[in-house]
Amino acid sequence: MRNYYIGFDKEKCVGCYACYVICQDAHSDIYEENTNSFRTICRVAEKGYEKNICPGCIHCGRCMEVCPRQAVYREEAGFILVEQEKCIGCKRCESVCPVKVIYFGKNGKMEKCDGCIERIRKGRKPACVEICCTGAVYLENKQ
């Protein structure tokens, strides 16, 4: 059993939005309107400088802990996934998410980063990790 972690180094992030966009490309129909990226854009500032960065789910599991229907679970590789059939759309998970990367689709069901688990099973990297030019988004295998 392996334990993966998608890391994000906000210092290395230059705000190019590549991970944000490729996440949509990897998870949505390109003809669909108003799609969500499972990453988010936020503005960070320090003295005399500000930039946009695109953090993503850290698979911390807080959404899993508060879910009243056990719709959210940790799969064997370590990623937090959702079983949409069980979701009742109560949005408790959204309120506790530290990165604010939980979304609700048109069907009212919770959606989130799935770690591109299907790609990993085929020996590929998650889309956001694969595309990042600066190494800000990276895949760690804890074992």
């Binding site: 230059v14 190019c16 590549a18 930039k51």
Partner: protein
């Protein structure tokens, strides 16, 4: 996965041409991978965009009404041939302009078509991008721009280049330089991810680059940090230059540029004293000023002054192994008839880039000077590139015939008589020249959408329809690709077998100091700090051979009380590339458009509010946008990205606010005011 094919495709959205691993299923692009920026990440929405042109079409009714009907390729070629040949017969070949926008791969073929037709008016988007930088370089060194030998440089001076956002895939190269301990000096009015990683950031007012470079030269000269023996042997006009440079002590340069005089000294000492040092220039920011060519000449002179020309780790013509090929930069433009732009910008032609200069295209069409223009054959022609684009759009109406080949149904297409569908880089092949004498092939991943065709096949189709003669193109597309590769010893078939790339069989090893035997291709045979070609036009056009500094703020006739802010348009954003990516839903959703970006102090000073609508007015026009605050921007400067049909910053630029040498518009330093719009 069964039926899943991997193809190697070069992204064609911007010229960086990043490699995309393209997975094809059932004839469609199913997924893409690679080290890419956000534009490349949106490739599938680019290819399968609802604005793609799918069939040849002809305009029905009045131009500009946007009503088109589908026709066959045969009918389209027939109409094009009839109209272009009629116009040649009635008005002469010079009345037809052949224009290349993006991408660039077919340019030599289009130049051949223009030559075969007999027109001197082959023009490209380089009339406002890159070629002025190349011209500035050629006027000084006589050859093509020499890039820094990054593998061996010890200090890198990055002059106005936010590579993290303009060429994101270059991030690795930049980070390796940092890891190697290379010292970085970055020149940029903004704070950017690139300047943040620099050791010294020279944060100048836009358009004052020349004064900054001359002041660095002042420090280098007065502190005897220059390469005396190199300068004595290889530089023409040094005495005059030295005298002129003495007008720019750091104290004065601080007043002009806003850069701390101590920092100017520090940067000059680092660049001159910690060599080998290279300068990484950029295609357009510095030359998008009314003194752009001269400002860049002042920058380029630093390379020779410090002996960093054609030396390991400096700016070198042949630092890497290369393999020869045909076409790119080798096809000469027919110049038997006066071209457009030739009277206004003679140095553009004396230091020929083998293109006419069409920066004043709207004037040339409307005023019929130097002669009437009647036809335009455009490939990716977009009026949004020019200052006051709507004026050019009106001028296009006056043409007798306009054919535009494009990927998308752009606003310019509305003015065309015929529009033809071009293929994206995913739908055709392309030979790519890589560093180190390597050629690779961008593979055709999928069949073109609709009836789209590759640009070169379209050019050959036009050539044949008009029965024009060109010995190379007449052989057809594949033979033409082989012709391009021939000097390298490779062929198209060999690249199809190894699309990832092959080293040319004929290779030229790296060379340094070749000037010792070959000299310089300038009138004096030396590096010209005083350009003899510019001096030719001292009387007629007011040019100076020296890298003269003329401050744009002294341009007469502008009421600075009314227009207190400096307008800077087009500084790169990672998701945009001119007008073309606003139509991509993923990219358009990233931020509001058009943003009017200002320092928070100015937002307060002018009574504006973040996120609210505002109107920007210049002496030439106005536009509407949304206020966005950014501390990365200097006080007194307004940054706006161009090309958005709903608020185009280029409407603010005066059509005559041009660099008198290159004709480049002063996109990066004009004047404006910003007023809040009443909220409904």
């Amino acid at each position: 996965m069964p039926g899943r094919i991997l193809k190697k495709v070069n992204c064609g959205i911007c010229p960086s041409a990043c490699r995309i691993d393209t997975y094809v299923e059932n004839g469609k692009i199913a997924s893409i991978e690679g080290k890419l920026c956000s534009k490349g990440a949106a490739s599938r929405q680019y290819v399968y965009n609802k604005e793609r042109i799918l069939y040849p079409m002809k305009q029905t009714g009045e131009k500009g009404n946007g009503r088109f009907e589908r026709i066959s390729w045969g009918e389209a070629y027939g109409i094009i041939a009839d109209r272009l040949l009629e116009i040649r017969e009635s008005y002469g070949a010079q009345s037809a302009v052949f224009y290349a926008g993006y991408p660039k791969w077919y340019r030599p073929a289009l130049l051949r078509l223009s030559n075969a037709y007999g027109s001197p008016n082959f023009c490209t988007e380089s009339s406002t991008c890159f070629q002025a930088a190349a011209l500035a370089w050629r006027s000084t060194f006589g050859n093509q721009i020499c890039f820094p030998d990054m593998a061996h440089t010890n200090t890198l001076l990055i002059w106005s280049n936010n590579l993290y956002h303009s060429n994101t895939a270059m991030a690795g190269t930049y980070q390796r330089l940092k890891d190697r301990g290379v010292k970085i000096i970055a020149v940029d009015p903004r704070v950017t991810p690139t300047t943040r990683k620099a050791d010294i950031h020279l944060r100048l007012f836009p358009g004052t680059d020349g004064a900054l470079a001359l002041s660095m030269a002042y420090v280098i000269l007065t502190e005897k940090l220059y390469d005396k023996s190199f300068v004595e042997k290889y530089v023409y006009g040094f005495k005059e230059y030295e005298k002129y440079v003495h007008k720019f002590p750091p104290k004065r340069a601080q007043e002009i540029t806003g850069v701390d005089k101590k920092l100017i000294r520090k940067a000059a000492r680092l660049y001159a004293g910690s060599g080998p040092a290279g300068i990484l220039v950029s295609p357009s920011p510095v030359v998008h000023h009314v003194n752009g060519v001269q400002n860049y000449r002042a920058v380029h002179c630093l390379i020779a002054l410090t002996g960093n020309y054609d030396t390991l780790g400096g700016n070198c013509p042949n630092a890497e192994e290369a393999s020869p090929c045909n076409e790119f930069g080798k096809v000469k433009r027919f110049n038997g008839i006066e071209a457009i732009g030739e009277r206004d910008f003679p140095v553009w032609f004396d230091l020929s880039c083998e293109e006419a200069q069409c920066t004043k295209l709207a004037d040339y069409i409307m005023e019929e000077k130097p002669y009437p223009l009647k036809a335009l054959t455009g490939f990716g022609f977009s009026h949004r590139m020019w200052p006051q684009p709507e004026r050019l759009q009106e001028a296009l109406k006056k043409l007798d015939f306009f054919v535009n080949v494009d990927l998308f149904f752009s606003d310019s297409c509305r003015m065309a008589d015929i529009i033809l569908p071009a293929a994206t880089s995913f739908e055709r092949e392309e030979i790519c020249i890589r560093p180190g004498g390597v050629f690779s092939l961008s593979e055709k991943a999928v069949e073109p959408l609709g009836e789209a065709r590759n640009d070169i096949e379209i050019i050959i189709g036009m050539l044949k329809a008009m029965k024009l003669k060109d010995d190379v193109l007449k052989q057809g597309y594949e033979a033409y690709m082989d012709y391009i590769l021939k000097p390298s010893g490779l062929s198209l078939d060999m690249l199809r077998q190894s699309p990832e790339g092959l080293r040319g069989k004929v290779c030229i090893p790296p060379r340094f100091r070749s000037y010792e035997t070959e000299g310089f291709s300038t009138p004096s045979g030396k590096i010209e700090f005083v350009s003899q070609i510019l001096e030719r036009y001292r009387e007629s056009h007011g040019y100076s051979g020296l890298p003269w500094y003329r401050d744009f703020r002294e341009v007469p006739g502008i009421d600075r009380k009314k227009y207190p802010l400096i307008l800077n348009t087009g500084s790169r954003k990672p998701q945009y590339f001119h007008a073309r990516t606003y139509r991509i839903p993923y990219l358009a959703a990233l931020e509001d458009a058009t943003l009017i970006e200002m320092n928070p102090a100015d937002i307060k000073k002018y009574g504006l509010r973040e996120g609210r609508k505002a109107v920007v007015t210049s002496p030439a026009g106005s536009m509407e946008g949304i206020i966005r605050s950014s501390v990365n921007i200097l006080e007194g400067i307004v940054h706006i990205y161009h090309g958005n049909k709903n608020g185009d910053a280029n409407e603010l630029l005066d059509k005559d606010y041009l660099d008198p040498i290159s004709g480049f518009p002063g996109f990066k330093s004009y004047f404006c005011q910003v007023e809040g719009k009443e909220q409904p």
